[in-house]
Every structure is written in structure tokens, then in C-alpha cells.
């Protein structure tokens, strides 16, 4: 799994006589420590984004929200679709760059999610709607239904949705970035 690889890399890279970086998922961490780590990630992301917005001469306020297992940085009041791009490709690129910038500094996996004017939140709502349709279809036909390719976070949301529904189960298939959730009858 890619994530495990990245974690191992980060641990090995964490030399300099310091303790190896601990991943956010480490069960020995207190909620406060976890919060501090997410704060740190959000700060790095916000610094990176502010510099980038400056260079692009784009306005924008950054709203940071630290949740239980991730930090969300929403760029608001942008007044331009430039950061979203066609079907969200630029936003996707922005997310990848932030992930890399955060990981380089913290040497652990990034848990920052970037959004622009709530675009991804709205997109996620659409994906949930389609997932509900798929669930209904699976129940009727008894045949598995493949959802469209999604990123890891979106897939997790779909799995959560399926798990809350009786009579269906879900799995993932394919490789990134074409990895997708499959909804099938629960037997």
C-alpha cells in the first residue's frame, strides 16, 4: 500500500538524531498531540497557499478548520475559477502540491484537504447522491455496481455511506488515480 511505503520512507528519513516522526494514526498519541500535528500541517499548507496566491495575484481568504482526523483549508472569496480549473483539475493539482510540501516539512503523511469556495464539498455531495443511486440499483438487481474513480478521501466517504446501509457491502478496485469503489450485495 502506498501510504505504508510513504510512512516507512518518512521514518527512515527522520534522522538528525531526532526521534522518528510519529504518524497521526499512532494510538499512543493524545487528542491534544493529534490536534497539534494537524495544526502544524494546516499552517504549512496555509503558508504555501498564501505565497502562491500572492504570486498569482489572486485574492482569497484562508479558512482553516481542524477536524478529528484531518485539517481542511478552504480558500474563500477568490472571485476566480482559476484555482479550480476544468472539472477540478487545478484544485486536484493544488492538493497534490500541498500534500508534498507538508510531507517534506513534517516527514509524515499529510492530512490536509484543500478546497476552493467549497467546491470539493459540493462535489462530495454529488458523489454521495450517485452512491445512493448505486446502492438502490444493487439492491434491485443483485449485481455489483462500479462507482467512478475517486481519491482516497472520497472513497472512504463512499465506504462509510455503504457501511451505514443494510444489505450492501463495498470494496475498492484498480490503481490510483483510477481506483474506484464497487458496491455489491452483502452475502
Amino acid at each position: 500500500m502506498t501510504n505504508t511505503d510513504a510512512a516507512t520512507d518518512a521514518t527512515q528519513a527522520g534522522g538528525d538524531g531526532l526521534a522518528p516522526p510519529v504518524e497521526l494514526e499512532d494510538p499512543s498519541l493524545t487528542p491534544q498531540q493529534r490536534m497539534d500535528m494537524l495544526d502544524q500541517e494546516a499552517d504549512i499548507a496555509a503558508d504555501f497557499l498564501e505565497g502562491l496566491l500572492d504570486l498569482l495575484d489572486i485574492a482569497g481568504d484562508l479558512a482553516i478548520e481542524v477536524q478529528e482526523d484531518q485539517a481542511v483549508v478552504n480558500i474563500e472569496e477568490v472571485g476566480s475559477g482559476l484555482l479550480i480549473g476544468r472539472r477540478g483539475v487545478t484544485l486536484e493539482a493544488l492538493q497534490e502540491l500541498v500534500r508534498c510540501a507538508v510531507q517534506r516539512q513534517t516527514e509524515r503523511r499529510s492530512h490536509v484537504r484543500i478546497d476552493v469556495e467549497g467546491y470539493r464539498t459540493r462535489h462530495l455531495d454529488k458523489l454521495r447522491d450517485r452512491c445512493r443511486d448505486a446502492i438502490a440499483e444493487v439492491r434491485e438487481s443483485g449485481e455489483p455496481v462500479r462507482l467512478e474513480p475517486m481519491d482516497a478521501f472520497e472513497r472512504k466517504m463512499m465506504h462509510d455511506l455503504v457501511a451505514k446501509t443494510g444489505g450492501v457491502a463495498s470494496s475498492s478496485e484498480g490503481h490510483e488515480p483510477k481506483r474506484r469503489v464497487v458496491v455489491h450485495p452483502d452475502v
Binding site: L52, L56, E92, E96, L97, A101, R104, E176
Partner: protein, 86 residues
């Protein structure tokens, strides 16, 4: 200000900024704008140890860099492509 003059300023700055944020040796990041058949090619050079950082798994990071630079080019009304040079 002519189109040629405008082309590449924002894109070069954006590319340099992004690259520096991703590598362990920011002082070794260099971007050079080269004209090729009327199109600007931004040549990105980084420290040899940082090549993996700007390319990423299956070229994922390089793709993201290109997409972001393309957005910057749109913003300034220029066209630029990125080439990562070893």
C-alpha cells in the same frame, strides 16, 4: 508591454516557488525560460537528490506542477510548458 515581455514572468516565479517548497535543496532550484517555436518552455533544474520529489510516484507531482503552471500561464495570458531537466 509586449506579449513576449509579459510571457513567463508569473509562470517562472510560480514554478520556482512551487519547486522550492517541495525539495530539500531549495538553493539548487533553477528555472530557465527557453523559447521554442514561439512557445515558452520552462526548464526546471533541481538537485539530483530532489528529482524524485518533483516527479513523484508515477509522475504524479510533475503532473501537478505542470497543471499549476498552466493555470498561472492562463492568468497572465501566456503559454508555457514545463520540462524537468536532469
Amino acid at each position: 508591454m509586449g506579449a513576449e515581455e509579459a510571457s513567463g514572468v508569473m509562470t517562472t516565479e510560480v514554478l520556482t516557488y512551487i519547486a522550492k517548497a517541495l525539495v530539500d535543496h531549495p538553493e539548487d532550484v533553477a528555472v530557465e525560460a527557453v523559447e521554442d517555436d514561439g512557445e515558452t518552455v520552462l526548464e526546471l533544474r533541481v538537485h539530483p537528490d530532489d528529482m524524485g520529489k518533483v516527479i513523484g510516484k508515477r509522475g504524479r507531482t510533475a503532473k501537478a506542477i505542470r497543471t499549476m503552471v498552466k493555470a498561472a500561464a492562463t492568468r497572465e495570458g501566456s503559454a508555457a510548458t514545463v520540462e524537468i531537466v536532469e
